[in-house]
C-alpha cells in the first residue's frame, strides 16, 4: 500500500515536471506557476497562424492567469490547422475552450462539439457584439454558441490618383452609393487603358480561385444579385438563379482587366488602381499609398452592394461541465473586454467585434479610415434574403458549409476559366442539395 502511494506520488511529480518541460520546450503554453493552490484548470486551444494573433493569444491567457491567480488557470495550446484539429478530435477530448473559424460553427454544433452559451455568457456581452458577428454565432435553433473578438471587412481599395487620371469622378465611399456592375465595367476599362500593363484590378487571384477564397470574397456577388447560396436548405433556384448566373458572367468578363498578382503586390506596386480584398491588406496598402488610398464598397449587381462578414470565434466544448465550465465562462468574458479585443485587433488589423471597442478603434470608429467596414457590418442581412437595405451576409450557417464552400468555389473557378456559368452553378447547386438530402436536411 505504502509503496503504491509512493509510486503514485512519484508519478505525479514526474508528470508535473514533464508537463512543465513540454510547455517550456514547445514554447506554446504559458508557463504555469507552481500549482499548489486549488485553481480550477482549463485548457484553451487558439488558432495560431499569424504572428500578431499568436502574441495576442499568449498575452490574454497570461493576463487571465495573472488576474485570477489562485482561482482559475488556463493552459494555452496553439493549433496551426484548427479545422483539422477539431474535426479529428472526439467531443470528449476537446479542450474546455477553443477558437475556431466562425464559418464552421454550424458543423460543430451539429457534431455536438459546441456548448450553447445563452444563459452562460451574460446578455450584456452579446448585446455589445456587432450584429454581424452575433448573426454568425447564432445557430438555426436561435441560440448563440460563440463569442468573437473581431470581425472582417471586405471591399475595394483604390488609388485616388489613378482613378482621377482615368477620369473617374464618382468614387463611392459609402455603401449606399456603390458602383453598379455595368458602371464598374466602365471603370475597369478606363483604368486599364491608362495602366502600363493594361490591367485595372487585383482580386487576389493568387489566393486561389478554387474552393476557399471565393466562399468569402465572391459570395457577395451571389448576394448582390439578390440571393443566398442556399435558401431554406435548397441551393437549386437560389445559387443557380438566372440573376446570379448573369452576375457571374459579368464577373468573368472582367478577367482581362485582372492582374493575376502572382507576387501578391499588384496594388502596392502600382500595377493596378483597384484591389478587391479584405481588411488585412489595409496596413500594407496604407503604408504603400498613404493619403492616396481610398476604401470603397464592392460593386452592386442589382440588389445593392454586399460584403462578407465573419472571422474567428470562441466557444466552449459541449462536454465541459461543473467548475470547469464556470472557469471557461469566466475566460470568455475576460477576453471579451475591450482591452483584450483591441489588443488583438491592433496586432492583426481586424474589425473589433464589439460596439464599444469599435468606437475606441482609431481606424474603424466614425471618421476613421475604415469606417466603411464598420458601417457595412452594422447593416448585416443576417440569415434573411439579401435586400438593398443591408450589406454583409454571413457564410451559410449550416453543417453543409464545407460542401457548399467546395461546390461554390469549384463553380467560380470554372466560370473564371471560361466555363459555362449556368452549368457550373447548377452543378454546384445539385451537389449541395444532394448533401442536404444525405443528412436529412441537417
Amino acid at each position: 500500500m505504502k509503496l503504491r502511494k509512493v509510486i503514485r506520488l512519484k508519478l505525479k511529480q514526474i508528470s508535473a515536471v514533464a508537463g512543465a518541460i513540454a510547455a517550456l520546450t514547445l514554447g506554446l503554453g504559458v508557463v504555469a506557476p507552481a500549482q499548489a493552490s486549488g485553481a480550477q484548470e482549463i485548457t484553451v486551444w487558439a488558432m495560431c497562424s499569424e504572428a500578431g494573433e499568436i502574441a495576442a493569444a499568449r498575452e490574454q491567457v497570461a493576463g487571465f492567469n495573472g488576474y485570477y491567480e489562485g482561482d482559475y488557470h488556463a493552459t494555452l495550446s496553439c493549433k496551426a490547422d484548427m479545422g483539422t484539429a477539431i474535426k479529428s478530435t472526439s467531443a470528449d477530448a476537446l479542450p474546455s475552450v477553443f477558437e475556431f473559424d466562425g464559418e464552421n460553427l454550424a458543423a460543430y454544433v451539429y457534431a455536438q462539439k459546441l456548448k450553447q452559451l445563452d444563459g452562460l455568457v451574460p446578455a450584456s456581452v452579446f448585446n455589445n457584439e456587432l450584429v454581424s458577428i452575433r448573426a454568425e454565432g447564432t445557430y438555426k435553433d436561435g441560440h448563440s454558441y460563440s463569442v468573437s473578438q473581431y470581425d472582417s471587412g471586405l471591399g475595394l481599395y483604390g488609388s485616388k490618383k489613378k482613378l482621377a487620371a482615368a477620369g473617374i469622378k464618382d468614387v463611392p465611399t459609402t455603401w449606399s452609393k456603390a458602383w453598379t456592375s455595368s458602371r464598374f465595367t466602365q471603370v475597369l476599362a478606363a483604368l486599364a487603358a491608362k495602366a502600363p500593363g493594361k490591367k485595372a484590378i487585383d482580386i487576389k487571384e493568387n489566393y486561389g480561385m478554387g474552393p476557399g477564397w471565393p466562399g468569402y470574397a465572391f459570395t457577395p456577388i451571389v448576394n448582390s444579385a439578390g440571393f443566398q447560396l442556399v435558401t431554406n436548405g435548397k441551393a437549386v433556384g437560389s445559387l443557380d438563379n438566372a440573376k446570379v448566373v448573369s452576375a457571374f458572367k459579368t464577373f468573368a468578363s472582367w478577367k482581362k482587366y485582372v492582374d493575376p498578382s502572382a507576387d501578391d503586390k499588384a496594388f502596392e506596386n502600382g500595377r493596378v488602381g483597384l484591389a478587391w480584398v479584405g481588411h488585412w491588406q489595409y496596413p500594407a496598402f496604407s503604408k504603400a499609398l498613404g493619403k492616396d488610398l481610398v476604401v470603397l464598397p464592392l460593386p452592386n449587381f442589382g440588389a445593392g452592394t454586399k460584403s462578407g462578414q465573419g472571422s474567428h470565434s470562441w466557444g466552449i466544448s459541449k462536454n465541459t461541465a461543473g467548475s470547469e465550465l464556470a472557469a471557461a465562462n469566466v475566460f470568455l468574458q475576460y477576453i471579451m473586454q475591450d482591452k483584450w479585443i483591441l489588443n488583438v485587433t491592433d496586432q492583426n488589423g481586424a474589425v473589433p467585434a464589439t460596439k464599444t471597442a469599435l468606437n475606441k478603434s482609431v481606424n474603424y470608429r466614425k471618421g476613421g479610415a475604415l469606417q466603411l467596414y464598420g458601417d457595412q457590418l452594422a447593416a448585416s442581412c443576417g440569415t434573411a434574403k439579401p435586400t438593398t437595405k443591408c450589406v454583409t451576409v454571413p457564410r451559410t450557417i449550416s453543417a453543409a458549409w464545407p460542401v457548399i464552400n467546395t461546390a461554390f468555389g469549384t463553380a467560380v473557378q470554372t466560370i473564371w476559366n471560361g466555363g459555362n456559368a449556368q452549368t457550373a452553378l447548377h452543378t454546384a447547386a445539385l451537389t449541395i442539395d444532394q448533401d442536404y438530402a444525405d443528412h436529412n436536411g441537417y
Binding site: K87, Y108, Q112, G210, P260, L430, T431
Partner: protein, 306 residues
C-alpha cells in the same frame, strides 16, 4: 537424414518468419487494415461530423461515383486525367532520367556537384516546389515562363495562361512534376549503369561499335531490369498525383486537373464524406493493381543474373 533436413527447414522457416515480422506487421497495420476498413466504410453513408451514426447504403457510393449522370462524369474525367498524366510523365521522365544518368555517368572533375544539382529537386518538398512554380506559371507577362517565351520569340508568343487554360493546365502540372521527380529515377538508372561491366563496352569498342551502337546494344539491354522498375514506380507515382494539384489548381480549371487522389482526399478531409472517399479509394486501388499486373505481364522482368 530426412528427419534432420526437415527440422532444419522448420528452423529456417521460423527465422524467416521472425525476420519478416516487422515488415508484415507494418504492412498489416498501414496497408491491409486501412484497406479492409475502407472497403467496409464504402458501403455506408458516413462522415466525420455525423451524430446519428453511419447508415448502411450498400452500393450507393459506387453508383454515384460510377453511374450517376450528375456525379459520375467528374470521376471519369479525373481517371482520364490520371491516365493522360501517366502517359505523358512516364515516358518523359524515364527517357530524361536515362539521358541525364548517361550524361552524369562520366568521370569528369566535379561530377558529384552536377549529380547533386540534378537530384536536388527531389529533396525539396512538393509544396515548396509548387509555390515556386506558381510564380513561374503566372499568366501575365510578369511570369517567368511567359517572360522567357516572349523574349526568345521577340514578342511573338503572347502570355499563356499555364494553369488557367483547360487545355494546358495538365501539361503544366506534368512539366513541373517531371522537373521535380526526374532526379529520383536518374539516381536509380545511374546505379544501374554502374552495374554494367566495363568489359562489355570494351568488347563493343573492339567490334568497332560507335557511341550510339554501344548505347543501344550494351547500355539499354544492361538497364533492362532497372528500366522496368523505373517505369512501374513512375506509373504508380504519377497515378497518385495530388500535391501539385491541391496547391496549384484545386482540380480546375473546368476539372482539367481533377485526379482520383484529389477527389478522395477532398471528399474525406474537406467535405468530411468518409464513405465516398473510401469508395473512390477502393476503386482506385483495384485500377492500380490491374495496371501494375498488366505492366508486369508485358514487361516481364529478366531475373537471370549474367
Amino acid at each position: 537424414m530426412a528427419k534432420t533436413k526437415k527440422s532444419k527447414f522448420g528452423q529456417d522457416n521460423l527465422a524467416g518468419l521472425l525476420m519478416s515480422l516487422p515488415g508484415l506487421i507494418l504492412l498489416t497495420l498501414f496497408v491491409i487494415v486501412p484497406f479492409v476498413t475502407a472497403i467496409y466504410l464504402s458501403f455506408f453513408n458516413v462522415d466525420f461530423n455525423m451524430v446519428e451514426g453511419p447508415q448502411f447504403w450498400g452500393l450507393e457510393q459506387y453508383r454515384r461515383i460510377l453511374v450517376d449522370p450528375i456525379t459520375s462524369p467528374v470521376f471519369y474525367k479525373a481517371l482520364m486525367n490520371n491516365l493522360t498524366f501517366a502517359l505523358i510523365v512516364v515516358p518523359a521522365q524515364t527517357g530524361l532520367a536515362v539521358l541525364l544518368a548517361v550524361m552524369l555517368n562520366t568521370k569528369l572533375k566535379g561530377i558529384a556537384f552536377f549529380r547533386t544539382f540534378f537530384f536536388m529537386p527531389v529533396v525539396f518538398p512538393m509544396s515548396l516546389v509548387a509555390i515556386i512554380w506558381a510564380l513561374m506559371f503566372s499568366r501575365d507577362s510578369l511570369g517567368m515562363l511567359n517572360g522567357l517565351l516572349n523574349l526568345f520569340s521577340f514578342g511573338y508568343i503572347q502570355p499563356i495562361d499555364w494553369l488557367g487554360d483547360p487545355n494546358i493546365a495538365l501539361l503544366s502540372i506534368a512539366l513541373l512534376s517531371v522537373w521535380a521527380g526526374v532526379g529520383f529515377q536518374m539516381v536509380i538508372v545511374l546505379a544501374g549503369l554502374q552495374e554494367i561491366p566495363v568489359e562489355l563496352y570494351e568488347a563493343a569498342s573492339l567490334d568497332r561499335a560507335n557511341r550510339w551502337q554501344r548505347f543501344w546494344n550494351v547500355t539499354i539491354p544492361g538497364l533492362r531490369n532497372t528500366l522496368i522498375f523505373v517505369v512501374i514506380i513512375t506509373t504508380i507515382f504519377s497515378l497518385r498525383l495530388f500535391d501539385q494539384v491541391f496547391i496549384l489548381t484545386k482540380g480546375g480549371p473546368i476539372d482539367a486537373t481533377q485526379t482520383v487522389m484529389f477527389q478522395a482526399v477532398t471528399s474525406a478531409f474537406v467535405e468530411g464524406n468518409v464513405g465516398r472517399a473510401s469508395a473512390i479509394t477502393v476503386i482506385f486501388v483495384l485500377i492500380i493493381i490491374a495496371i501494375t499486373l498488366l505492366q508486369r505481364l508485358v514487361l516481364r522482368q529478366n531475373r537471370e543474373v549474367k
